[in-house]
């Protein structure tokens, strides 16, 4: 199939132009670009929703939005960020970089690649359009309002009409993700350049390969959960309704059996990116390559046996609770190995701190903060206090924002020269980094305090003792949100080719096949596979 696609392209050496270029693209670079812009757009949409949330929480009392609308905001913020920003962002990076890193001419299944992207805008159009539909009377939008975790029966018996739009859009996102994952697996197993053995692959390819298997394993579980919701809502089944002999807790088990591996789907590719960037700017080979691969695989395997740590308070039997507590604690071992490996890579290297390195180091430190609060959350008796408070909100924003999102910034600054052919604007980039670094901590660090002090999450209003920290959290939120406009400026300048011309290998310590093609990477690369060593 791949040879057929290559042969087809051989007859059309002119690159397609205009809208058609993007709509009908089967080129991994163009599709990667589409994914990345889409991801950034969703990041801004989700961010905007978060700004409204933070505006309401600036002070105690209800000033701007109705509590009902507040719930819709938190729901759509979560869905847009998880399924719209983080996941497609990493798929975009995979599309651009995996073929370049393994010396493949393109992704193995280019037409499916096109489809898996073009499903996404429609899925989100369906989901976000519910914000403009009124089921509760004019001027009262009724988007899904049950949190991104959509626990039954709040989302089944009590869900608004738009829940069905939500179900359809989640199905579409699932199809897109599964196809994307299949594409990665087929590409990595079939299109590696001669000599590129599995244990020579860059870690970004390794982490994505493992992520792809996780996606294929759990996205169907999510599809199952929303399908059961659908039949509960419309076809008289009672999977999740106790009144009909079903079980609302079953929903949580099914959801988190998807949800916990999902968490690693959103962080494993980040590990790969950092493992590419730190050696480059330390001018020293990655420490413990093999142990990195094994640690990633162990994290992926363990992710299937820890799901119930999201539901310690549902009243599980003691033995079950203990099992999930021990397994969860165990995850910190391979994660620790990774962090120690990164530190050992830096140790006695020859470090410089270009923008990608700044983001990568910020990632290692802030992700470790999130990991350590995760270890605290694993301790079940204390989790009974932490559960569903802002402490949890702080924890997962540390691993997802200053974790996953920061590595995407790192990746963008690292590979933008390759993608666009120009160096990202240094001044704007520095401003973006420092502004984001300070504001992200002002935004998320005090959440630990309000959480410990007892502020539950998803609260539209709160008791007075939480007021001070919430005020500063909101200020941090606005600041962090506005800082991202700087990144938009950096990307637009690169897209317009405004800036210093980039050489094929702009970072002296960089290694890998992607630096052997010119910058910007030509439309077709590695039509004849390179030979690795």
């Amino acid at each position: 199939m791949s040879t057929a696609a290559t042969a087809h392209d051989d007859h059309h050496h002119h690159a397609p132009t205009g809208l058609k270029r993007w709509l009908f693209s089967t080129n991994h670079k163009d599709i990667g670009t589409l994914y990345l812009w889409f991801s950034f757009a969703m990041f801004m949409v989700g961010g905007l929703l978060a700004m409204v949330i933070r505006t309401e929480l600036l002070e105690p009392g209800m000033q701007f939005v109705d509590p009902e609308f507040f719930n819709q905001l938190t729901t759509l913020h979560g869905l847009a960020m998880v399924f719209g920003a983080v996941m497609p962002g990493f798929v975009g990076l995979a599309n651009w970089m995996i073929p370049l890193m393994i010396g493949a001419p393109d992704m193995a299944l280019p037409r499916m690649n096109n489809w898996s992207f073009w499903i996404l805008p429609f899925a989100f159009l369906i989901l976000l359009s519910s914000m403009f539909m009124s089921a509760f009377g004019a001027g009262h939008p009724s988007a899904p309002n049950f949190g991104w975790t959509f626990y039954a029966p709040l989302s089944t018996e009590y869900g608004p009409a738009s829940t069905d739009l939500f179900i359809l859009s989640v199905h579409m996102m699932g199809i897109s993700s599964i196809m994307g994952a299949i594409n990665v697996i087929v590409t990595v197993f079939n299109l590696r350049a001669p000599g590129m053995t599995l244990m020579k692959m860059p870690l970004f390819v390794w982490t994505w390969l493992i992520t792809a298997f996780l996606l294929i394993a759990v996205m169907p579980v999510l599809a199952g959960a929303v399908t059961m919701m659908l039949t509960d809502r419309h076809f008289g089944t009672s999977f999740f309704s106790a009144a009909g002999g079903g079980d609302p807790v079953l929903f949580q088990h099914v959801f988190w059996f998807f949800g916990h591996p999902e968490v690693y789907i959103m962080i494993l590719p980040a590990f790969g990116i950092v493992s590419a960037i730190i050696p480059t700017f330390a001018r020293k080979q990655l420490f413990g390559y093999a142990s990195m691969v094994y640690a990633t695989a162990s994290i992926a395997l363990l992710s299937f046996v820890v799901w119930a740590h999201h539901m310690f308070t549902v009243g599980m039997p003691l033995a079950g609770t203990l099992f999930f507590m021990y397994m969860t604690m165990l995850i910190s071992v391979p994660t620790g190995v990774k962090v120690f490996n990164w530190v050992a890579t830096m140790w006695r290297g020859s470090l410089t701190f270009e923008l990608p390195m700044k983001w990568a180091i910020a990632f290692v430190i802030l992700f470790t903060c999130g990991g350590l609060s995760g270890l605290m959350l694993a301790i079940t008796p204390v989790d009974f206090q932490y559960h569903d408070t802002y402490f949890v909100v702080a924890h997962f924003h540390y691993v997802l924002v200053s974790g996953a999102v920061f590595t995407m910034f790192a990746a963008a600054y690292y590979w933008l020269p390759k993608w666009s052919g120009v160096m990202p604007n240094k001044l704007l980039g520095e401003l973006h980094f420092w502004s984001s670094l300070i504001s992200v901590n002002l935004l998320f660090f005090p959440m630990h305090f309000v959480g410990l002090a007892g502020m539950p999450r998803r609260y539209a209003d709160y008791a007075l003792q939480f007021a001070d920290y919430n005020f500063w959290i909101s200020i941090g939120g606005f600041w962090f949100g506005l800082s991202q406009l700087l990144f938009l400026a950096v990307c637009v300048l690169c897209a317009l080719k405004k800036g210093e011309k980039a050489p094929a290998k702009p970072w002296e310590g960089a290694e890998g096949l992607e630096w052997e093609v010119p910058s910007p990477a030509p439309f077709h690369t590695f039509e004849t596979p390179p030979v690795v060593k």
């Binding site: 600036l58 939005v65 009377g137 071992v333 050992a344 020859s350 701190f353």
Partner: protein, 402 residues
């Protein structure tokens, strides 16, 4: 129109920020940033466990960040131009796998011990069934000592007045807050110290006795959480979860909690207030409650429409406005103002029936409100906001249907 909306939003935001900074000092004395040690023996164990783990992770964190910092300073290119070439070290790699493992075991031992303690709900002297409703708590006293037939149960609603909660800065459009439109531009009363924590009928508990809570829900999942009692337990429809608390003698007082699982619109407005009193005081309170429960319902007819409307207005604000709107304009629930349902005679019987039995997401109110309250609120809904049907429903009419 758009620009004025935007302008007002911007002005509102700026004034909020300024007032926020000004008020910050007033609220500081209540500010809190750590877990509460709590009041029960178990909650204090949980707190100790939290403190231990916090120290462990802080030390690990400082160690890792310290190494990164040293490397960033000492191994930067200007000071360390020739990078080392090592990329493996079996001894180190085994070490940093085994040491964390040992730390984990050291943490798991006390965690397991406290967990087993928390799980033990046996030998309770008082059993209270806690039922989550959208958006209030119901407390039913099941057994106390040898008394297995107490028959006392009541609803516990938020007591913070809506004027303190609803402080809208602009109306309609982009930021809908539905039911509070009429409050725009009004002076808002200051918030009480226990804003969003106080309730009308607190949960009353004896000190020095083990209390078992049977936690369940009538609709969606809620979570029963009083931080000072050391943890939360989900209230799940169709399930009965167990948890317990024993507040030591001498620690009588009021302990506040909140619902901790997203349950819909007023998730943030269903607090828990637990009033812990001495055993003698508790026995008196329970005896009085039992007497009240045994008494026949008050079926005194309303003398006139005004009397019914007055009670109805009060009942509506406390129970109905959250879904049906402050002015009967609807929301999550049906609108009343001008609707066929609340104005046409043929719907009157159905109106009474739905209040008693519930329908779909509309809860049954027979157990929550007295016949007199139900009659008054139906009267109110059929005569307020321009409905003016003149229907006067008497407690007797409701009691018959019940």
């Amino acid at each position: 129109m758009q620009s004025t909306l935007f302008h007002r939003a911007a002005v509102g935001l700026v004034s909020l920020m300024i007032s926020g900074m000004a008020m910050a000092s007033d609220w500081t004395e209540r500010s809190d940033h750590n877990l509460r040690p709590g009041v029960t023996a178990v909650s204090q164990e949980v707190y100790d466990l939290h403190t231990t783990i916090l120290w462990i992770v802080t030390i690990i964190g400082l160690l890792v960040f310290g190494l990164i910092l040293i490397s960033m300073i000492r191994h930067r290119r200007s000071r360390h131009p020739n990078p080392a070439t090592f990329h493996e070290n079996v001894f180190l790699e085994v070490l940093w796998t085994v040491i964390p493992f040992v730390i984990l075991i050291a943490m798991a031992v006390p965690a397991t011990r406290v967990l087993i303690q928390l799980d033990d709900t046996s030998d309770a002297e008082l059993t209270v069934k806690v039922t989550g409703h959208r958006w209030k708590w119901e407390y039913e006293y099941l057994t106390y000592g040898d008394d297995n037939n107490i028959g006392v149960s009541y609803m516990s609603n938020i007591a913070t007045p809506p004027e303190q909660i609803n402080n809208p800065v602009l109306s309609g459009g982009l930021f809908p807050y539905g039911t509070a439109k009429d409050a725009v531009g009004k002076e808002f009363p200051a918030k009480d110290a226990n804003y969003n924590l106080e309730v009308d009928n607190p949960l009353v508990l004896p000190s020095g006795q083990k209390v078992r809570f049977l936690v369940t829900s009538a609709d969606v999942i809620h979570s029963f959480w009083v931080p000072d009692f050391g943890g939360k337990k989900d209230a799940i429809p169709g399930f009965v979860n167990e948890t317990w608390a024993k507040v030591p003698e001498g620690q009588e007082g009021t302990y506040y909690g909140q619902c901790a699982e997203l349950c819909g619109k007023n998730h943030a407005f269903m607090p828990i207030e637990a009033k812990v009193v001495s055993q003698a005081e508790f026995a008196d309170w329970l005896a009085q409650k039992k007497e009240e429960a045994a008494a026949a319902p008050d079926l005194t007819p309303f003398a006139n429409l005004d009397e019914a409307m007055e009670l109805g207005k009060q009942t509506y604000a406390g129970n109905c406005a959250v879904c049906h709107g402050n002015n009967g304009e609807g929301g999550v629930g049906l609108p009343f103002a001008g609707s066929d349902f609340a104005t046409k005679k043929e719907h009157l019987e159905e109106h009474i029936h739905v209040l008693i039995e519930g329908r779909g997401a509309m809860p049954a109110f027979a157990a929550q409100l007295s016949p007199r309250q139900i009659a008054s609120v139906i009267t109110y809904e059929r005569n307020a906001w321009g409905n003016e049907t003149g229907d006067l429903i008497q407690p007797e009419d409701v009691y018959e249907q019940e």
